[in-house]
Structure formats: structure tokens, C-alpha cells
Subunit: 370 residues, 2 copies
């Protein structure tokens, strides 16, 4: 089969869903569709009882086309066009995130009565793919915005936050849970009863480094909720990477192995996929994928790994100390593991003329079916 | 018209081609198709006499479909699959770049007799979008590789280099021209006569900052060639950005204007296009585009500019001190100028469910035609 392609085993994703759902009993799991919106994957997640966090009009359509009930969708993007809010509302979506007055004004007009969740700024220290201040507002502003929502015909449901993707520290959720509890308490004093705490995503998966089991993160969150909330709120979580990443293996071919000079330097290994072909999360070498080759076990030496385009930023790993077998040759297949999330949809539409990354589904017996 | 879209005026690109061709008399201009592979643009460039630098099989097809003669194509990517070399050769392409023995071996087998150009490492200091060591080999290795090419049935045509895209310093070409002259001289002593010096691209355009006219770059290059070469070689250049960038204006809509807290902070302005929708060159705020709004002339204040996706790295400018009018509101159209190059094809295929950037061509009278 022509490389590059992403081989996806949907059964793995469903097993990940079941495991995280079991770790958070009584908590609906909203799969972040952006991680991997593959139709067949969404169908199986619907069947398994999963809910969906959607970021755009297209993702709403994808979830509904897979059979999801609109009541199981949360429009989690805090940056929405008025038209897209109206579209979601017309389709039956009734849960929306916001973090600003501008967004609330649009929601009050185009999604009257909808449940709205205020996103609060959180620290993403410890995350491999951190979230900046792009999303969320300060807690004191959240209180005022929720009051505004209650006064303008919206249903002030609760608070959400996100600690950053591939967050390794199980203790990182607690400060935001404490912030949320304080917001609940202040609004209760006003007679506004919030009920929902959305703990977001960020749950990590194994790449080169093996991470703590999901149950540790669930336990830390449960403990923090009990500690800070006098009455346990309804919870929801929004994993994307945790469900989809382990389900994918990217198959790529070595195009060239070269040296730049006669000095003692690492070899350069060029693959037929790079940062613009689906491996966008190697920006700043943030995500260090695990690689396997046909020569594993043979002698290795340091390499710089790069993609096939004429763009110099299309380098995967230059500082992360990757080593690959000296026997590696053009035409060899390199497997990049844990690539089921944030790859296929990140791929450019045709940069340098290279087509976007194809997804191939694995049949239940382990064979690729298309 | 629904935003975002890239409005392209092909007449501007053709005028840019004519100006750079006039600045480099007697020098064929190879347009870097990767900058903007729009079919109608390539057709007009073919008519104007332009040659083409192609990076992949698809770009070869695009250039040929626009009517280019295969003898006017140079396969400039130094990272090519053997199959793609064979494909190019079968289509009549006879000029190829290389920078390693591995690539030469493929070329000797799949493109016998072809003219090959050795890419030499160059400093891209001074470039806004610099090139790393990803491309090129050290000069002493270049000499050996060219000898190898001559001994294995290839036509050793010459040397190429690239000083980095949006290179502002006209003096940056000279060190590489001197390196090339030394390689020519060493090989002449072996009886190998090189004839071609490819000075690459990198020629800058106006973004927020107005750059020196192209004639200054041409003059610096001509002076350096005269100084270092006893006999003037044939020249070629490979502009992409210079031809395409000024031809495009990206039209985007303000989705949201917000503040994160009550502290005195810049407003956040969210547009319906971002780093994953075509503005990839705002990575690390490398390219600072010029913006216009319907409120220009009104009072401005600092902003952080971000795209519409749920990804935190989808921030355009946070440190570049952009200011926009205080009157800016959701629904306002912001025009991003100089976006004809390295935008539409960089866009992701569907990250967060947002479709890739559309291109709309401007008719000769100034109206958009599709």
C-alpha cells in the first residue's frame, strides 16, 4: 500500500472509551471529535454510549451523521459565529461553552434557553501541548458572566476548564476544581445554583514515555471534587487524545538517508510524512512519538528526522535525541505509533503538492480493509 | 461571500514575474509552484515565459496541465522517491537538484543523463522564514558528489543554494556565490566544466515592513557573480513568494472580541482563519502581515490575534504589538494583505472541522469571478 497512511483500529479506540468511562463512573464522556472525526469511529462510539464535544458546524454534522442524539453534543468551542450557533440550535444542540460577554450575547440571541458552561482560565503547566490564555476568563469575570446569562434567558449550567493536552500531572486538575467550587459558592449566594463541572480533557497517553494509568487521574479528580465541593456536582469530561491516539499507527516510508558533511554529524532521515502531512504536533518537538522500523534490534545511531517538503520547518526531531538503526535505507517502512489523534485532520490540503494523509481502517481480524 | 477566502489577482503576479525577469536579464525565472499552484495563475505564467521549480509529482502535473514544456521544469526538491524521479523523467523533466549520494544513486538509475544541480548549504541569517541545515551539503562534499555524478552518466550542470525565504539582506547571496565559484574552480581542475548557478529564491516582499526593491537584490547578485567567477555562468532564480504574495488578499471575518479579565490587558480578537486555515507562516510570528479593517483611521488599541480553532497554538500575533480599532466588532471583515503565497496550500484539510481556505480569482476589472 502506498505510504503514508494512518492505520486505525477502531476497537482500540472503543476499548479506550470503555476504560475511561469506567474510571469516571457516572460521568458522561464527551469525545472531542477534533481528535479524529473518522465516520466509522464515531459510529462505534455512539453505539458504546459516548457523548461528543464538537468544535464547529462540520463536527456537529459528523456526529449526527454517525447517529448521535443532539442532546449528547456539547459545542465546546468558545469562538463561534452567530450563524453556527443558530445552526447548532436548529439541529437540537442545547449545551454551549463560552468565556466572554460577546459570546454570551450571541448565545442569548441564537440559542435561547440553552445550557451554557463558562470556561475559566487554567494553568496548563506540565502539559506537553499546553493551552495558553486563548481560552477561558478569570474567575471574577466568570461570576459576572454567569449572572448575565441567568438574567438573559440562558440556563447557567456550570463551569469548565482545560489543563492542557497530554497533561502528565494528575494534580493539575485540583486548582481549577477549587476555582470552580468558589464560583459555585459565590453564585449560590446570589440564588443561582450551578450543577455541572466539566473537567475537560488533557488525559495523557503513552508515546515514547509511559504515563500513569487513567485511574490515577480519575482518582485525583474525584478526591479534589470531594475536597472542594460541599455537594458533588454533575461531572463531564472531554477526552480526545486518550480515546483516539492509541488506535492509530502511521506508516511512512524512508525517502532518503544522508549526511550534510564529512564531519561527525547525525544522519538525516527524511520520511514521506512530516509536519505538514499530519505530524503537526511535532512542532517544537512537543509530542515525541514512538517509532519502529524493520531493523529494530540492530545497531542504532543518532538521527535528525524530517519530512519530505521543501520547507525547513518541516523537521520532526532535531533535539529530542532520536536514534534509528544504521541499516535504515530508502524504501524501509517506519511505523509511528500513537498517531490516531490530531494527525489526519491537521494535514495540509496539498502543501508542496503532497496529498493529505489517508486513513485506512483495520478490520476486526487485524487486516486493513480500505 | 462567506469568509474566509483568498482573493487572488493574477495580473499582479504576472506583473511581479515581469519585474523580476527584467531585474535579472538573461536569467530564466523558475516560479516555485509551491508558493501558489493555482491553475489559472500557472497558465498566465506559462504565457509570460516563466519556467517552474517543482517539489513533487503533483506539482509536475500541475505545471504540465497549465501548458508548461517539461524542459522548463526543474525538480528542485532534494528529497525525492525513486518512483517520483522516474515519473518526472518519463514526463520529460531533465533538471534535478540533489544534495546527497543517496539521491544521486536514485537519479543515476531513474534519470540517466539528466542535468543535476548540487545544493550547497547556505546561511539564511537575515531571513524571516529561514532555512535550516535540512537542505544542502558542505562544499567539500559537493565537489565529490559532482565528480560521482559525472562518473555515473549524469550531466553535472552546476550548483544551487537558498538563502532563506523573505531574505531581507541583499548581501546574503554573496557568500554562497563565492562558495559556488570555488566549487566550479576545483572541478574545472578535474576537467569537469560546470555551467549553471542557481541562486534560488528568498526575494522579499512588503508585509508590514516595506523592503528594498528587487533591483537592489539583482544588482548585489550580479556584482557578486562578476567578482567571484572568472567566466559568468548561466544563472537561474526560483522566486515563489516574490511573484505570488502580493497577488493575494485574505478576507476574514471577526468572530469574537473579548477580554480575559478585568485587568488592563489587550483585547483578544478571534478571526475565522488562523494558523491551521492558511496562515501557517505566522508560526513564531515569522511573517507579520499587514491588516486593514472597515474602521481604519479610528482609535486603535493593542490586540492579541487568534484563529477560530480549539487549539492554543492557533494564535497569530501575541508579541508583535498589533493594534486594531476599538470599534472592531464580530462580523467585521479584516483584510490580510500579501497572502498570495504559502497560504491556501498550507491550510489543513479539516482541522476542527473547518474547511480549507478557498481561492477566489479576481476578474480583470477587479471583480471576484468565482
Amino acid at each position: 500500500m502506498d505510504t503514508p497512511y494512518l492505520l486505525v483500529d477502531i476497537a482500540v479506540a472503543v476499548a479506550q472509551y470503555r476504560r475511561i468511562a469506567a474510571a469516571f463512573p457516572g460521568t458522561p464522556v464527551y469525545y472531542a471529535v477534533k481528535a479524529n472525526p473518522e465516520h466509522a469511529l464515531l459510529i462505534e462510539l455512539v453505539r458504546a454510549g459516548c457523548h461528543f464535544d464538537v468544535a464547529s458546524r462540520t463536527e456537529i454534522d459528523l456526529a449526527l451523521a454517525a447517529g448521535a442524539d443532539p442532546s449528547t453534543l456539547s459545542f465546546g468551542n468558545t469562538i463561534k459565529k452567530a450563524d453556527d450557533i443558530a445552526y447548532a440550535y436548529a439541529k437540537g444542540v442545547r449545551t454551549f461553552a463560552f468565556d466572554s460577554l460577546g459570546e454570551l450575547e450571541k448565545l442569548a440571541e441564537h440559542a435561547p434557553g440553552a445550557a451554557v458552561i463558562c470556561r475559566v482560565l487554567a494553568s496548563s503547566k506540565g502539559a506537553r501541548w499546553p493551552l495558553s490564555r486563548k481560552f477561558g476568563c478569570a474567575p471574577e469575570m466568570a461570576v459576572d458572566l454567569i449572572r448575565w446569562a441567568a438574567a438573559h434567558g440562558l440556563d447557567p449550567a456550570g463551569v469548565c476548564f482545560h489543563v492542557g493536552s497530554q497533561q502528565l500531572d494528575p494534580g493539575r486538575w485540583e486548582p481549577s476544581i477549587a476555582d470552580a467550587a468558589a464560583i459555585f459558592a459565590r453564585l449560590a449566594a446570589d440564588g443561582i445554583t450551578l450543577r455541572l463541572l466539566n473537567c475537560g480533557g488533557g488525559f495523557p497517553v503513552d508515546y515514547q514515555t509511559v504515563v500513569a494509568p487513567i485511574e490515577e487521574y480519575a482518582s485525583a479528580i474525584a478526591t479534589a471534587v470531594t475536597k472542594h465541593f460541599p455537594v458533588r456536582p454533575d461531572l463531564m469530561i472531554e477526552p480526545g487524545r486518550y480515546i483516539a491516539a492509541p488506535a492509530g499507527v502511521l506508516h511512512t516510508e524512508v525517502v532518503l538517508v544522508s549526511r550534510k558533511s564529512y564531519a561527525d554529524e547525525p544522519r538525516w532521515v527524511y520520511l514521506d510524512v512530516g509536519r505538514f502531512g499530519g505530524l503537526a504536533e511535532t512542532e517544537d518537538e512537543a509530542i515525541e512519538y514512538r517509532l519502529t522500523t524493520p531493523h529494530d534490534g540492530a545497531i542504532t545511531a543518532p538521527v535528525v528526522l524530517a519530512g519530505p517538503t521543501c520547507d525547513s520547518v518541516d523537521i520532526l526531531y532535531q533535539n529530542a535525541h532520536y536514534e534509528l538503526p544504521l541499516a535504515l535505507r530508502p524504501g524501509d517502512i517506519v511505523q509511528i505509533h500513537g498517531t490516531g489523534a490530531y494527525t489526519a485532520t491537521y494535514a495540509s490540503v496539498g502543501f508542496n503538492g503532497f496529498p493529505p494523509l489517508r486513513t485506512v481502517l483495520m478490520a476486526s481480524g487485524g487486516d486493513a480493509v480500505r
